[in-house]
Symmetry: D2
Subunit: 342 residues, 4 copies
Amino acid sequence: MSRKKVAIYGGSGYGGSELLRILLFHPEVELVFVTANEHAGKPIREVHKNLNGFTDLLFLPAPDDISTIDGVDLVFFALPHGQALNLIPQLPGGVKAIDLSGDFRIDEPDIFRKYYKLDHAGQIQAKFTYGLTETNRDAIKSAEYVANPGCFATATLLALAPLVKNGLISGKVVVDAKTGSSGSGAKPAANTHHPQRMNSFYAYKPFTHQHVPEIEQHLRQVGSFDTDLIFMTHSLPVSRGIFASCYLETSADLTKEDIGKIYSGFYEGSYFVRIVEGSPDINWVKTTNFCDIAFHTSGKQVVVFSAIDNLVKGAAGQAVQNMNLMFGFDETTGLRLPGTTP
Amino acid sequence: MSRKKVAIYGGSGYGGSELLRILLFHPEVELVFVTANEHAGKPIREVHKNLNGFTDLLFLPAPDDISTIDGVDLVFFALPHGQALNLIPQLPGGVKAIDLSGDFRIDEPDIFRKYYKLDHAGQIQAKFTYGLTETNRDAIKSAEYVANPGCFATATLLALAPLVKNGLISGKVVVDAKTGSSGSGAKPAANTHHPQRMNSFYAYKPFTHQHVPEIEQHLRQVGSFDTDLIFMTHSLPVSRGIFASCYLETSADLTKEDIGKIYSGFYEGSYFVRIVEGSPDINWVKTTNFCDIAFHTSGKQVVVFSAIDNLVKGAAGQAVQNMNLMFGFDETTGLRLPGTTP
Amino acid sequence: MSRKKVAIYGGSGYGGSELLRILLFHPEVELVFVTANEHAGKPIREVHKNLNGFTDLLFLPAPDDISTIDGVDLVFFALPHGQALNLIPQLPGGVKAIDLSGDFRIDEPDIFRKYYKLDHAGQIQAKFTYGLTETNRDAIKSAEYVANPGCFATATLLALAPLVKNGLISGKVVVDAKTGSSGSGAKPAANTHHPQRMNSFYAYKPFTHQHVPEIEQHLRQVGSFDTDLIFMTHSLPVSRGIFASCYLETSADLTKEDIGKIYSGFYEGSYFVRIVEGSPDINWVKTTNFCDIAFHTSGKQVVVFSAIDNLVKGAAGQAVQNMNLMFGFDETTGLRLPGTTP
Amino acid sequence: MSRKKVAIYGGSGYGGSELLRILLFHPEVELVFVTANEHAGKPIREVHKNLNGFTDLLFLPAPDDISTIDGVDLVFFALPHGQALNLIPQLPGGVKAIDLSGDFRIDEPDIFRKYYKLDHAGQIQAKFTYGLTETNRDAIKSAEYVANPGCFATATLLALAPLVKNGLISGKVVVDAKTGSSGSGAKPAANTHHPQRMNSFYAYKPFTHQHVPEIEQHLRQVGSFDTDLIFMTHSLPVSRGIFASCYLETSADLTKEDIGKIYSGFYEGSYFVRIVEGSPDINWVKTTNFCDIAFHTSGKQVVVFSAIDNLVKGAAGQAVQNMNLMFGFDETTGLRLPGTTP
């Protein structure tokens, strides 16, 4: 079987960089072109120096007219929010797409406008499948377009989905989420300025983060979720990693073992979710596509911890995992990459 | 007026080191002796190299019999948990004490035994005042012995006290707390091994941290607090700092401005509590005695953020603040130390 | 005696921030005004949040005409390179100045042009004294204008001066210097982007750093130095600190003890130079005005290590040390600030 | 062809951990057993949590009698210095060995004793080939036993070998080398205690590091090297990485282009050496087997920079590279692992 042909729009940011790190070694796909307007004409290895020795590909400018591209089976969009919104509707028929931005994650136009200050994609939105692989696997397999989940949303949803699916949550859920600095992207800014960030920990966007409606929408797809979600984002002085601490009350008396069975059952066959003892640690998932989850109980009070690499399971890795399903490959193809100790 | 004479038991750890950094420059006290059995006979400046140039004092062995020490007005105990328990009861009459360990923070013998695996101090416990300066100022002024609060307890209690005092919390409170690595002390251990810790974030002691009963006990002293406290501790890859995110629901409709007035009123005259916009940041309180607090609302849902330096406001700094009160000094004496940018 | 009146031009960068941290607590000076065009009208404490609680001063715009300022005894210039060049010549008579930039450090116009791409200050240059306090103390005491040394130059010169003064160096000197990220200033840039910098170490400006001519020029003032200086700069993933490793050969057989005597003698009375055993560590000088120095020998081969905080002894701290001398104060006034452990 | 069978002695340290990370995915070898006395009986994935999901192997105790092991083609020794010294001489005939410690790197018994405080291995030493792959490739191909180079030695030798080989160095060479904290091993110690190390940079073992004789010995094998080597080691606050700055004078007038040709020629066919512009950066080699090299000239003065990951090219990666040669595989087999951005 010949390899599937894929392209990347937006290859110079951290999402694009991680797509490249994975796809260049993927045994079933061929990388046809990678755009990066700012670096057009430059070898990829000069921008992503970790890839020096692995590719001679050049960054290309984005094609003038995306509707005329051919010889491509699937396009990854790793562009700033708002740009794929106009591009994907023009894709030629038969070309699949995975969008790593937030442009197609929210179904409700009003909510989308409130959080993204953009007009909704309209009818094309109906063609998008939400790409949280472990909860939406079957739909993704037959999807034409996938809206890849946000990094915080991925960590939170994987932590909560088994209990929501089983209708076991009572009352509000509090999620205290923390992200590494790469979550702010490859462009230098005040909040990622090293002299300050290395000793910082702070909260941001209280009650207003754009992943809140994304999480709520998908929890309602997973099961019945009609309670309050209190979701707070914080900044960690690491480069990579998201850690979510999820606090909730169960609607029934459940032991830790009961919960263990629920999670093991829910994630059976999900290679990239590892149930661990004690606590996950960002250190053990960094640079990998794993989501490590642990939970503890005290009476009906439950805490679920989850940890992912924001750029891999929270972005590029999950995108490739979804691509694997869309092409009928094993979902772990090209993604069985171990982390490192230390 | 002659200077007050103070001594330190346990000067080689991080708590002792910070006591030294502050007390050596305190205009109203004289440091009479500092013990450190492991380093007895060694110049302090060789152990705490930051003090090179500031003192020629030597570490001394702990006196054989503490009941015979004289010429000392107050002793700071910065020893591992369990050691002050036997020492303070033997202090000569008239010698005040401030204990930085958990030995005298818990009134109930059963709870103390459960969390510390030690037998309670018994009657002497009644002589101890809990040393959260801002909530217990008057009692501390006349205290003979002060149990200095835990670092997590300090950050959490200062965040919650104004609402508890005013009876404004309804239902459970979730506190997601994070600490820097110096919170584990000066002795190397697996969880503070640099190659791993620098990229780590993880949770520990879920539902079982020894500061839980301390926080609950004091909240009940501050106001009426009969609800659940869900308290979780995490490890941050910074050296210094605690950040607490406190989630709660108010029993009344309160705007952010209403809450602002409550906090401003509660902390009027409290120099070391700074109400800030947006979020506190560990970066702005490190090496200082400040506690920075911010809050946000969404309907009745409230989040309160607080940040302190675990070794200063969370230990040595607050201990000196309490000493100032016990000696009748202005509580900020020797403690108006600014942090640094960056 | 009334306090001396000082002003700061350029108070929003890291140099300005550290000047503020020191001068606000200096017992002998009064801060008259602080300019920061970008933040004009804003409270200083909102920009430098570490100073929240310590000052209500506002940043002001730079005066239209510096020649008309009055009521000021001395002005600190902490502006980007090139700006003080035009301002200081217009200062009213009798107003002293300390410039923290490189504008007035180089005597030779051709060398200045080569390294700074600017035209030389001309005759006013003759009024400038190079402000390496420990080697130039007497000249500084009577100076009208002081060119405060560069951070790398300070660390290197203090390491080499005792041997150069005594004519004991034979052949070329290699200096391998490393700086923390705050050396790049407060403005975010690619090389200080946290996700990358936290795991980086690299060299930059090989053989071409602008501190090379500054070091050479001053070594020739200190003693006879007519040999090659190989000087290389590297970037460390810490916020603060410079560490210089200086490799040289002595022209005579000297034991470590001999060298010890030379350094002790040279730095007698220099409070801020500490000769230490083994190696200095950035950790012990950060946030302080100290320069820690150690040396080792192997036959005639000698290595001298020095460590400073680039923003304090390498900038603002040394500037205040120089101001103290210019005003006839003890040179340590306001600068006996200890670092912290950890 | 059936897979080669390999074993690891000492699988719980950082060297062992990296051998596992590479060998578990190596297409041509089978891991027969891995010893770790301290963790005997425990699943490897519980000790090296990055390998959770990749192996169910258990750590085994070291066999009582190594002379009776069979079914093994090659043994890696990743034990503390001094232990392989007694084990390898007892290996059954036909079993190859690669030792990652310093036990067999030094040919001269007196020098070995001076630096390692151990008695020399005696006649068996003659069977050892020094495993710097790029300079010793042919000898390694037919080697029975390989002494894998030290991490500092690897970075230094790869930087200097092309010039030494061509006899182009005149006078002494100064090497200023810096290592990340993982170089101190997996066992917590004062110098790797996170609260201090994260803000530290310091020198250690001045003039006495045990890699000095190793470097000198191999430089004399590579070409004629009879000059002084000044070699200094420093500690960086990163987890992984070594950076060496090598200062030397050429015996002939060479432009940067001349040197470029020498290095390109010398490293032709050496996949893992990348000649880069400007400076290498630890960030681009971490977790990989690459050695990045750059050089600059100023007249006859030359600086050569090299960067490696101390645990990969400086230990486990190079060991596998050598194994590949000893088994007749392509030397890059199992080692074409890209690093990450950021």
